[in-house]
């Protein structure tokens, strides 16, 4: 039972505003961990702390064996990151993107060449290798973007809404890619707005107002909240006494 993420009493305050308020959790190797919550609930801030982009106000987080506060650079070398929008350079070709990101992560030339060939054949993109990324269909771009995030063999990949706006078929194929990657022992941290996708995660955390309001397997969460699906779980957690309370927390 390797723990690749250990998070203890982690908080981030912006002035008086507690974006992340004392969260603790652990994630195991090869787990698919879902990060859910309304906009402004603190998901993005939490992810930024775990990826070493911002310093926590208090608390401790260890990612891939390194403390995010003391050694953010070591953390960054061991994680991959993909968001739907900004992961690839659209005006570069497929091959150029792979080479660029390989270079950024300090891979040797020979390794990059070898990985490029492997990646192109795995994605069946050999014929499109010298096309600009902007010319690829969205589904391909997404898979390429994911594969590029995995190029330096990170222990953990962070996926920030990787499937928003994508058709149902591409969305499912993408999840199969996620499963296959997790099978190989890579830990996946994923945020999504599709509640059915929450079901695909091994465990799911639901954030409300900077705190983790619930954390368990989808199955147990549904049991705990007596809900038919994750959508209902989400609604019950996010709006416990219906509308009034959330209107008060309407701030970003």
């Amino acid at each position: 039972m390797d723990k690749v993420i250990v998070c203890e009493n982690l908080s981030k305050h912006f002035g008086p505003f507690k974006a992340v308020d004392d969260i603790s959790f652990e994630v195991k190797r090869g787990e698919i961990f879902g990060f859910l919550g309304a906009n402004g609930a603190g998901k993005t801030t939490a992810l930024k702390m775990l990826t070493g982009l911002i310093m926590p106000t208090s608390g401790r987080a260890e990612v891939a064996g390194f403390d995010v506060r003391q050694n953010p650079e070591a953390v960054k070398r061991r994680i991959g990151y993909m968001s739907q929008k900004f992961s690839l350079y659209e005006d570069l070709t497929v091959r150029e993107n792979i080479r660029l990101f390989g270079g950024i992560y300090g891979l040797k030339r020979a390794v990059i060449l070898e990985k490029t060939a492997a990646l192109l054949s795995a994605l069946e993109l050999e014929n499109a290798a010298d096309q600009r990324v902007s010319a690829l269909p969205l589904g391909w771009r997404q898979k390429l973007s994911f594969s590029v995030a995995l190029l330096h063999e990170p222990q953990i990949v962070f996926l920030d809404e990787p499937t928003s706006g994508v058709d149902p078929l591409t969305r499912r194929r993408f999840w199969e890619l996620i499963y296959a990657t997790a099978e190989q022992g890579v830990t996946i941290m994923v945020t999504t707005h599709y509640m059915d996708e929450a079901e695909y995660c091994g465990r799911v955390s639901m954030m409300v107002d900077g705190r983790i309001a619930a954390l368990d397997t989808p199955h147990l969460l549904k049991k705990q909240f007596d809900a038919a699906d994750m959508d209902e779980v989400f609604r019950k957690i996010a709006r416990p006494d219906d509308k009034q309370k959330t209107l008060k927390s309407g701030k970003k």
């Binding site: 906009n39 928003s164 706006g165 994508v166 058709d167 149902p168 499912r172 059915d196 199955h219 509308k243």
Partner: protein
């Protein structure tokens, strides 16, 4: 209320809309359902008189979107994909501004927006930029409604909004419809199709199917079983390999297996999966949902070219 005939629009080599025709009746919520790049936004911009179609015509309340665009602009309420609000103006200032621009006042049509605006009132002095996604969405809706339009055009109102706010938003739309408003709405979230009176499934600029959501799902031709086990990933792989299974995809905690072989029973799947070494196996009959239909239609489109 709205009739669209043979509209096409291309950007260079890319066909954003390819011979689209449909009609929307008064007092109906009509949904354009499709992923990003399906052509939804181009369709909305044509109807909002902001874009000229290459071919075809569209009429709203008898007015042509190209010829009578000036008269039409008084009669439609348009909410573009990104919430078009002034981030540096407060909630009240935004609303006042859009009311004035349309030559009306908040008081004149307050009745229409009251149920929505009442929820925003506690924050009326807050800048729009500091609102949550759900609140921005509500404010943008108020701004689009303030001049009492006949037709509401909502382009992806749910993007960037959490599921709970999205649900509330749909409740508001249904209330507005019950008040007699006609609404054309687009969304990439397939589950929202069920909330529309009628939908068109859009992919690559073409309508793949158009009907009530119930009829679209009822038209699904093959039987579906929902299966689950302790290992979803292997379950999908194994089901795909099973003879008689055409296709298999994850749907929430279950995987949907679409069958070619109608003689297969749930007990056959159960037995097969247990033989494959799955634990906690459960198999049941399932109804097709919009996503099943969308996937099937997509595959048909690609095989037929």
């Amino acid at each position: 209320m709205l009739s669209i005939s043979n509209i096409s629009k291309s950007y260079g080599a890319i066909k954003a809309l390819d011979d689209i025709s449909f009609e929307v009746a008064s007092g109906e919520i009509f949904g354009l359902i499709g992923p990003d790049g399906a052509g939804k936004t181009s369709m909305f911009r044509i109807l909002a008189t902001l874009l000229l179609p290459d071919q075809g015509a569209a009429k709203i309340a008898g007015l042509d979107v190209v010829r009578d665009y000036k008269a039409l602009r008084h009669r439609i309420g348009y909410m573009p994909g990104r919430f078009s609000l002034y981030q540096d103006l407060s909630v009240a200032e935004n609303l006042e501004f859009f009311a004035a621009v349309f030559g009306t006042s908040i008081e004149a049509n307050y009745q229409l927006i009251a149920p929505i605006y009442d929820q925003l009132k506690p924050f009326k002095d807050r800048r729009a930029g500091a609102l949550s996604g759900g609140m921005k969405q509500k404010l943008a809706l108020c701004c689009a409604l303030i001049h009492k339009p006949d037709l509401l055009l909502l382009d992806e109102p749910g993007t960037g909004v959490d599921p709970v706010s999205r649900k509330e938003f749909w409740d508001m739309l249904r209330d507005l419809r019950d008040g007699g408003l006609t609404i054309l709405v687009s969304t990439p979230y397939m589950d929202e199709a069920a909330l529309c009176d009628r939908v068109a499934l859009l992919q690559n600029g073409r309508i793949m199917a158009m009907d009530t959501p119930e009829k679209i799902t009822a038209a699904f031709s093959r039987p579906i079983f929902a299966a689950r086990s302790a290992d979803m990933y292997r379950l999908i792989q194994d089901l795909r390999a099973m003879p008689g299974v055409a296709d298999c995809y994850a749907f929430g905690e279950f995987a949907h297996a679409v069958l070619d072989d109608r003689s297969l029973k749930s007990s056959d799947l159960l037995q097969y999966l247990q033989e494959c070494g799955h634990t906690e196996v459960q198999v049941k009959n399932a109804e097709a949902n919009i996503e099943d239909c969308f996937i099937e239609l997509m595959k048909k489109e690609t095989t037929h070219g």
